[in-house]
Subunit: 528 residues, 2 copies
């Protein structure tokens, strides 16, 4: 018995076909159908791909939003034995061309609004043979539209038997410098990752859930939620193209979403939007935020004002992506809401199957005192052991372990707390300053929506921190002296940033994280 | 990364060592310690076994009750790469000697009260080299007592790396006729079975649970609950030697048990005991009954009188044992308690990873109309594909599928409902009569505790049903005409048993199921 994604699809098709897949379309209307239809169309799509000449091991790329068609591709391509390469739509043309050439994609599925990118990039992708537009209207370029293509397939297509170590998915992680690095997922890896997500002590995804993945399907498997939803037959609500915070909240309210997952930066936007226009989000049993550390202040706001617990996890494209999860152990749970939040701001413990160690500069485990930071290393059945055909692998992988580049401390219970990305730590006078700690405390200051802290070159101290701060009210003002005094309540004097810059918004990267590279350039300008 | 049981133990040791293992001892006192101690002693035990000369692949047998020492063996032996053979203490001496010789056990761990069995059997087990008595007092026979043996090991022992397809467990299933048949479990099989148990839509075993496995550890891995408890670090309460229904209820009340698992026959005893002496069992979120079909009447009594939902599952020694689980889907759940019970009496749908088919006599899938019975076939990563060195394998296995010998119908939702064991169906005038259906209806009759129906030879009809009925009150009487009229409300006239025999108790097999072989012999006597 091979551990392959097909097993999940066929079980749901046979035993749990009754729940809905709801997909927000470009015009804001909702498309809805049942898993029975989803499974039939997924078979038909795999058949159409096989008839097109797609072979096991071939790379099939997507350039698209979170939609039902994208979700059909999520299973049709792997169940055919081919490899689904989800291209990050927010990369530059140059990087998209690079990764499609590096992956040697042969087919591309693209959402209509992303066709301009394809027009610019496709001519330089040497391997590309077919382009299919995810629409039901005649396609302005490429082979044809998705529905016409689907019609060429057989809805009773039998998926082939596939060996569990076969590659089935591919995603590129944006490097700080240089070209993106490719990560390949196997059937076995995604099968086990999917099971892990459905464990009661991890995300507890269930047939009773209505899952709303805001995290893009082109970003680290949408954190595995489409796979998990199919595996248990959970209702899934896909937010479609260009979802705003308002769109997401409207969907949660209308569809009674129980589980939502998004980048921390989106969590900040959701809260701000709720303040502008209240919605009923009482159906949510959990809001999972990731991509960076969730500020405690945001967590308390969601908890106290809306009764919604925030789930914190840690992972990366290299980890499929889930590696650790906050676990509120029974004794802490029974100690009450205040104690739970202290645990929920931490990145938690490895999910079953993953091994974790936090190592200092000498390669020795850090003490469990929550004071000594070290780099997080993980390994497990779904954690990458190399980058795809990339010499940079040797910098990040050794003996089956992935060196994450993330810096954390470990508490007495073994749970980790992210302190910083290795490259984001501020080094002042030979000591480390955690940008994440400063950001969390600033975000808790009255009148502040969010904050980012980066290093500024300094002749005397080597580096000094600079804070960029966004006010809660759009027209709000913030007094640097008040911010400074707020931080002085908790941190040593030499931790207090030299400069506080009030900005209307923080720059974000293609995957929705705060773009610290841009901020560092601004900070360097301030230093001059 | 290999899928081995060690992964679970080491994660709990490092991140979730705080919960308790509670073990009822022979004198009724409770022994308690934490997972930190459990893991340390398990390493020490593995080390002692290695120093004794136990090699990977060697068989280590146990003859014991559900105790903390037995639970240490549950992980020490597999994590050393050896094979844990849990011997059913209720087998005859002849069968125990047969299976120990067939397994070629080299070491035997035995509980003190079972030493008489060992004295009789051990001399005929040719492979046996060591006997260790699970006690802390000097052992009257064998090598030594468990605690002295443990002291020879190193508590910092590092478990070896083991290939996931290595065998790690072994259990014999009692055949109706002939010698017991051996089933071997692999590391990979038990790893995946453990994860399945912890899925929210299966048993949802969690660190927040207090698990009370009444099902013996010598019977089908105690349904996988010791493995699941270790994997998530759940509190576990072990009922020790000779637990009575009163002992079990006292433990649930005192330890605030959340999840209890037992044979259906024990469930009947628990209910009868609760009527005699009430206890607070409100902490229970679920009572899992298995081994045979749970009567709807018993389920309603637990639900209505105690608010405890009964979980129904189906499996067998050959299936590690879990193959299917009742799943109350969201729409049914929201329809209310009455609708949920209609689903909960069914054996449900395959757990993720297992494939299932119900085939008629011609090998064709039965229609999903809940009317046409067929034999249940399953396959999956933890389902056996053969009996250990046994020519009878070819009668039960083909193409990776196990033919269970259990007869079920399938509903429109695909869920199965057990109708009978193939050998327990009553064949009357060329038509099938389900003994399970008759038993369920009799158990719902006022004044009835439980019932068993078997076939009696009949000259005219080939076979006719006979019912053995136990009154709810020990001194109660039951009128056959009333029982007959009760059944006539629901069944065709030719289904009604020809005889109703009132008995004080039903005979039970070594694994606690109703012993239908003995009843058939009694029924044959009645026919003469």
């Amino acid at each position: 018995m091979q551990l392959t994604l097909k097993t999940f699809l066929e079980r749901t098709e046979s035993f749990l076909p009754q729940n809905e897949i709801v997909s927000r379309q470009a015009d804001g209307q909702l498309f809805r159908y049942h898993y029975a239809d989803y499974c039939r169309r997924t078979r038909q799509l795999a058949s159409a791909l096989a008839r097109l000449g797609v072979k096991p091991g071939d790379r099939v790329a997507t350039l698209g939003w979170n939609t039902y068609r994208h979700m059909e591709l999520y299973f049709a391509v792997p169940c055919l034995g081919a490899i689904l390469h989800t291209v990050n739509i927010r990369l530059t043309d140059e990087h998209i061309a690079y990764i499609m050439n590096h992956a040697e994609d042969v087919v591309l599925f693209v959402d209509p609004d992303l066709l301009p990118t394809v027009e610019r990039v496709a001519p330089s992708v040497r391997s590309l043979r077919h382009i299919i537009v995810m629409d039901d209207r005649p396609a302005p370029l490429g082979d044809c539209d998705y529905e016409s293509f689907l019609a060429t397939g057989d809805p009773d297509f039998a998926f082939p038997e596939i060996e569990e170590n076969s590659p089935c998915g591919m995603c590129f992680t944006s490097a700080t410098t240089g070209d993106p690095k490719g990560v390949v997922y196997t059937q076995r890896g995604l099968y086990l990752h999917t099971l892990a997500l459905c464990l009661r002590d991890v995300l507890a995804i269930s047939e009773h859930d209505t899952v709303l993945p805001v995290v893009p399907m082109f970003h680290a498997n949408s954190w595995g939620l489409p796979h998990a939803a199919v595996a248990v037959g959970a209702t899934i609500v896909l937010p479609g193209p260009h979802p705003t915070a308002a769109d997401i909240l409207d969907l949660i309210e209308a569809e009674r979403g129980t589980f939502c997952a998004a980048a921390v930066t989106i969590g900040v936007e959701l809260y701000a939007q709720l303040k502008k226009k209240p919605r009923d989000i009482s159906s949510l049993r959990g809001l999972m935020l990731g991509g960076s550390a969730t500020p405690e202040a945001l967590m308390k706001r969601f908890h106290n004002e809306y009764g919604v617990p925030i789930l914190t996890a840690w992972g990366a494209t290299e980890a499929a992506p889930l590696a650790t999860i906050t676990h509120v152990r029974r004794s802490v749970f029974e100690a009450g809401p205040e104690e739970r939040i202290k645990v929920r701001i931490r990145q938690g413990i490895p999910v079953p199957g993953v091994e974790l160690k936090v190592l200092d500069d000498c390669g020795k485990p850090v003490p469990r005192d929550d004071r000594h930071p070290g780099e997080v290393h993980v390994r497990g059945p779904w954690i990458a052991t190399e980058y795809y055909r990339d010499k940079r692998s040797r910098d990040s992988f050794a003996d089956g372990w992935w060196r994450s580049g993330d810096i954390a401390t470990q508490g007495s219970d073994g749970s980790i707390r992210l302190v910083d990305r290795a490259k984001d730590l501020v080094k002042s006078g030979g000591e480390w300053i955690s940008s994440v700690d400063l950001e969390n405390e600033l975000a808790a200051c009255p009148g502040v929506l969010e904050a980012a802290v980066v290093a500024m070159p300094d002749a005397r101290w080597q580096e000094r921190p600079v804070a960029f701060v966004v006010p809660l009210q759009e027209s709000g003002e913030l007094d640097p002296d008040i911010l400074s005094a707020w931080l002085a309540r908790r941190f040593a004097k030499w931790w207090i940033p030299d400069r506080f810059v009030v900005v209307a918004a923080l720059p974000k990267t293609g995957v929705g994280k705060v773009d610290k590279r841009t901020l560092r350039e601004r900070a360097a300008g301030l230093a001059l």
